[in-house]
């Protein structure tokens, strides 16, 4: 009796699984999400550009000395999502800030070089991020996320 029920249950799950799994990203979407390479030489100091990887907007910000200073001069323990700036950049390339430009509140794209910390500001509900992309004020719960990336030379990064 129970054995029949278990077999029927396994059968039902097996029948339903493709119907559920078909909604996950398909092969072409995953292929389109392959890593991209970005040349950093055209980006002037103080300039931020936006690129797309896996349909997500990515900020690449060439930080000024002052912005790096401000990002370090912070009591990390007092932050809503504590993280030191050093954990959010690659060693030896601290002037390059690479962030996923999606506000961790409800998914709007923040504006660069805005807000009281000269970092990022999300116009949707007023979340304020600093020059390290960390949340300082507003309803967003987490710091701006980092995409997976690495420096393949001093002037080129691969994202993904």
């Amino acid at each position: 009796m129970i054995a029949t029920g278990v077999v029927a249950g396994v059968g039902a799950v097996a029948a339903l699984w493709p119907l559920v799994e078909q909604m996950n990203p398909d092969a072409s979407t995953i292929a389109a999400g392959a890593p991209i390479e970005v040349d950093l030489t055209p980006i002037a100091e103080g300039q931020a550009i936006k690129v797309f990887w896996r349909s997500k907007p990515i900020f690449i910000n060439h930080r000024t000395k002052k912005q790096i200073e401000d990002a370090r001069n912070v009591d990390v323990a007092k932050l809503p999502d504590p993280q030191p700036d050093s954990a959010r950049v690659k060693q030896g390339h601290e002037q390059w800030q690479v962030l996923i430009a999606i506000c961790t509140h409800l998914g709007c794209i923040p504006l660069a070089d805005q807000g009281p910390f000269d970092g990022y500001f999300c116009p949707c509900h007023g979340s304020v991020y600093d020059t390290s992309g960390r949340i300082r004020q507003g309803p967003a719960p987490l710091n701006l996320a980092l995409p997976p990336y690495e420096f393949i030379s001093d002037t080129k990064i691969r994202i993904g």
Partner: protein, 423 residues
């Protein structure tokens, strides 16, 4: 005035059909001879209006689907093609978009009627819950439909609303990816939203059948909240309710027509005439007016997860009203204290709607929080407590007494119990 209780087909054709599929008898007993309380007022016509609006949406939607293309590079242009090239396409599109607004207007009025007159009370609890399910289905359908034109508001509304699920701990991100079918809102998302937008209205139609069935089992409520006791306290649905429903359907259609022909884009957002741009977020993302109260509640709470829970709870709490309200008296006509809290509630709902359209800063946030608090306190505190402490007005013994008793007080002689009675 009473119609014969059972269906007696007059034509040979109908007799032939009736023996094989008694649909004539079903329609007759449900919508012709069906006994309906004779004291119903015009607030009772909105059920019929809602059915009519569902039909309008289905009809205009299906013909629009013959011309729409659900692909990110083509969707926006296909809607413009409908507006400019398709014969009467502009009319169909405006009917469908404004029809959705009218659909929600009628639904909210219908629900407020239920809350005022206690239509959710025993034995109509299941009827009420089916109604809450219908509201939820309507909200989902409207959201899915709004994404289809693939304008700026379409895209960003899809992004924001699907992102709500990321608030769920552990599985949130996975659920969002699964909903998107990709790493962001994109073509897979648009395609599946189209499929579901086409499906859900038929699910709504099915639940409407259950809703009307549940209604016919218990009979309709009435403004006095007293169950009909004698036959002369009811009238046949046709012609009385039929003509009353039809009349208000016409009035309601005039309102719909006013929007469609004079101010067709008034209720919409101009940013949705900008094609979707994933790299630019509009400065003010707002949903359509019928979602604004829920949007205000979501934004009022500073914590992301609790905001999402509050949003879900604001709809879920409606299903529990039959048990939250402890009053033994059904209709607000005999509940003077409840009546006041009810009207404050209506104003709070409208206020939340207005606040939802404003940027979430300064005093707007303060009032949104106060109004959100009242919204939940009304259901969770006021309804249970009022039933126990309120001094209600004496409820008449019957509908006849409620209706005729009043006239006797004014001094006019009571008219004969029914107008024209045949044999």
């Amino acid at each position: 005035m009473s119609a014969p209780a059972t269906y007696k087909p007059t034509s040979a054709f109908m007799r032939w059909i009736e023996r094989r599929l008694p649909i004539g008898g079903l329609v007759y007993s449900s919508f012709v001879a069906y006994p309906t309380p004779r004291n119903l007022n015009y607030w009772w016509t909105f059920g019929g209006i809602l059915t009519f609006m569902l039909a309008v949406q289905l009809l205009t939607g299906i013909v629009l689907a013959m011309h729409y293309t659900a692909q990110v590079d083509l969707a926006f242009d296909s809607v413009e093609h409908i507006m400019r090239d398709v014969n009467y396409g502009w009319l169909l599109r405006y009917l469908h978009a404004n029809g959705a607004s009218m659909f929600f207007l009628a639904a909210y009025i219908h629900m407020f009627r239920g809350m005022y007159y206690g239509s959710y009370k025993e034995p109509r609890e299941v009827l009420w819950i089916l109604g809450v399910i219908l509201l939820l289905l309507m909200i989902m359908t409207g959201f899915l439909g709004y994404v289809l034109p693939w304008g700026q508001m379409s895209f960003w509304a899809a992004t924001v609303i699907t992102n709500l699920f990321s608030a769920i701990p552990l599985v949130g991100e996975g659920i969002v990816t699964w909903l998107w079918g990709g790493y962001a809102v994109g073509n897979p998302t648009l395609n599946r939203f189209y499929a579901l937008h086409y499906l859900l209205p038929f699910v709504i139609a099915g639940v409407v059948v259950l809703h009307v069935w549940a209604l016919h089992v218990t009979g309709q409520n009435n403004p006095d909240g007293i169950e009909p006791q004698t036959e002369n306290e009811t009238v046949a649905f046709t012609p009385y309710a039929t003509i009353k429903d039809s009349f208000l359907m016409v009035v309601f259609s005039i309102l719909l027509a006013w929007f469609v022909f004079y101010i067709p884009s008034f209720l919409g957002h101009p940013d949705n005439y900008i094609p979707a741009n994933p790299s630019v977020t509009p400065t003010h993302i707002v949903p359509e007016w019928y979602y604004l109260p829920f949007y205000a509640i979501l934004r009022a709470i500073p914590n992301k997860l609790i905001g999402v829970i509050a949003l879900a709870a604001s709809i879920a709490v409606l299903a529990f009203i039959p048990w939250l309200d402890t009053s033994k008296v059904r209709s607000a006509r005999y509940r003077p204290l409840y009546r006041q809290f009810f009207w404050v509630f209506v104003i709070v709902c409208i206020g939340l709607g207005w606040l939802g359209s404003k940027p979430p800063e300064g005093n707007y946030v303060v009032f949104a929080r106060i109004f959100t608090a009242y919204y939940f306190i009304f259901f969770l505190v006021i309804l249970p407590v009022l039933g126990k402490v309120e001094r209600t007005k004496p409820v008449p013994a019957s509908i006849s007494q409620a209706v005729l008793g009043k006239r006797a007080l004014i001094g006019a002689p009571a008219p004969p119990p029914s107008g024209t009675q045949s044999a």
